[in-house]
């Protein structure tokens, strides 16, 4: 799929959650950092040399020998996209927010299903990511493993016997792997247990971040849990550790939800229906409010209070309501007050076919 379609469409492969724990686990992501041997890391590269890296990747993705491993990949130059288009790629979690701060001599490679994306010249020469719906960490690693093998047929990676894959930041050296799972945890928040769970997680060498990675806020009760250690553990061990912890968080969240529903049924239903009502009727919505309401509605869908809405629809809606996508839909930038109205109208339309 050409990058234009990716930008025009709020939907992405990772949103179609199904399977185990899919009402709590939104998506699973694995990314690896890779660098080219003998070439300074991106922060030391001038434009010419940075473009050489882009060119090397361009050649690597069309290597016939690697076709089976790589699948259909397409490279786009970041500077050729408009600021809004770049922001939409961030909102869809296909690239990092830092990547677009400076878009010179950078490129993005996308697989046509948007499951695989590669950032060229981010902090490392290559950041290869795979994003899948639900709890599919091992599957994501398998896909990444193949893509990595495919690229390595052409590219000479910076690798040391002792320290593994060499990365710009020493916190990534070794496997270069960051595995993360996005979780929707309203139950733990409402029962005020999240703090306990998070401090337990940090003792296991894992970190918790907000929706868009490092330094971002947790919007809509969404959290990303990821590994911190990249050296001395194999990729499989990293995945396993994270999966074990995630299953633990899942059962805590499930317990919190059923406790809430048993003991505070009316309060929970009230919250859900208020969210439902507001989303269907509001005339002005900020993105924070919309995210909060979508989170409440999602809880209602998970608890079978509300019928007729699929979690994947809500995943997509979370992207549609972001400023960049509204800009895209509207064709031009909107001042805040008009944006709130435009967002509210979009959300009302989303639910107009549902029974009252």
């Amino acid at each position: 799929m050409p990058i234009r379609e990716t930008i025009d469409n709020a939907h992405s492969g990772w949103m179609d959650a199904e399977g185990q724990g899919s009402n709590i686990v939104i998506s699973s992501r694995v990314r690896i950092a890779r660098n080219l041997a003998g070439i300074p890391f991106p922060h030391l590269l001038d434009q010419t040399r940075a473009e050489e890296v882009v060119q090397a990747v361009r050649l690597a993705i069309v290597n016939n020998e690697a076709k089976n491993l790589l699948g259909p990949l397409e490279l786009s130059i970041l500077g050729e996209l408009s600021p809004v288009e770049r922001q939409i790629l961030v909102d869809k979690h296909l690239i990092s927010p830092e990547f677009i701060n400076n878009y010179q001599s950078k490129a993005i490679v996308l697989r046509d299903d948007e499951v695989v994306s590669i950032m060229v010249n981010e902090e490392d020469h290559l950041r290869i990511q795979c994003l899948l719906p639900g709890l599919q960490l091992k599957e994501a690693w398998e896909i990444i493993d193949n893509i990595d093998d495919g690229l390595e047929k052409t590219l000479d990676y910076a690798f040391s016997e002792k320290l593994g894959y060499l990365t710009t930041c020493p916190t990534n050296v070794g496997t270069g792997m960051r595995a993360s799972i996005m979780l929707h945890l309203p139950g733990l928040i409402l029962t005020k247990q999240l703090g306990v769970v998070l401090s337990a997680i940090s003792k296991l060498g894992l970190t918790v971040r907000g929706l868009y990675g490092e330094g971002t806020e947790a919007q809509g009760n969404l959290f990303q849990v990821s590994n911190q250690i990249t050296l001395g553990q194999s990729e499989e061990e990293i995945c396993n550790n994270l999966l074990v912890s995630t299953r633990h968080i899942l059962s805590q969240e499930q317990a919190a939800r059923s406790l809430l529903y048993q003991q505070r049924r009316e309060a929970v239903e009230d919250r859900v229906y208020r969210a439902y009502g507001t989303l269907r009727c509001a005339r002005l919505l900020t993105s924070e409010e919309a995210m909060r309401l979508i989170s409440d509605l999602r809880l209602g869908v998970d608890l079978n209070i509300i019928a007729g809405i699929k979690p994947s629809q809500l995943n997509e809606l979370m992207i549609k309501i972001r400023p960049a996508f509204l800009y895209k839909l509207n064709g031009k930038e909107l001042p805040a007050s008009q944006r709130y109205a435009f967002r509210a109208a979009l959300v009302r339309k989303e639910f107009e076919d549902l029974p009252q």
Partner: protein, 174 residues
């Protein structure tokens, strides 16, 4: 009201600081606010990881003496000076890792609790590392068969390991 800092854009961010009972008000624009990042004022407090790491390295610098922090050493490949790494917390290129290894290992041990990669090895360019990984796994198997007292199998495994190690030594000499 115009921004007090740049005097060009309208002031949209208003900061009130109260220190020891005295109040200080600042009115600045969004752009300047982004630059100065007043702490705890609606902005996510951004701890810069690289500065943090760099600080660590500073602390770990040769027996705590401040002179040892920057020896003026430069990486031959990318020209990155040790002082630069201490400042940025970022490596310059793959060679930096071998060049600054001595200084780096304590830092890596602190971050990861380990200084030995046990994960994936690149297929084509892995070379010795691939063989080393195979030897490691065979040694693990060897321990297992010994504990089960299957000595014939153990002998086979030992021979395979020896052969691999021999190949490795010859390879590195040639």
């Amino acid at each position: 009201m115009l921004c007090e800092r740049c005097g060009q854009r309208p002031a949209t961010v208003h900061i009130t600081e109260i220190t020891n009972g005295s109040k200080k008000e600042t009115h600045i624009c969004q752009a300047c606010a982004g630059e100065i990042q007043p702490q705890g004022f609606g902005f996510v407090p951004q701890l810069n990881l690289n500065n943090f790491l760099a600080g660590f390295l500073h602390e770990l610098g040769g027996a705590g003496s401040s002179q040892a922090v920057d020896t003026g050493e430069k990486c031959e490949q990318c020209g990155m000076a040790e002082g630069q790494f201490v400042k940025l917390g970022l490596m310059g290129c793959d060679s930096c890792y071998s060049h600054f290894e001595e200084r780096l290992l304590p830092l890596l041990r602190r971050i990861h609790g380990n200084i030995r990669h046990t994960g994936k090895v690149p297929e084509r360019t892995g070379g010795r590392a691939k063989v080393l990984k195979a030897i490691e796994s065979l040694k693990g198997q060897l321990q297992e068969v010994i504990s089960r007292e299957e000595f014939e199998q153990a002998a086979d495994l030992r021979d395979t390991i020896r052969q691999l190690e021999k190949n490795l030594d010859e390879g590195s000499e040639g």
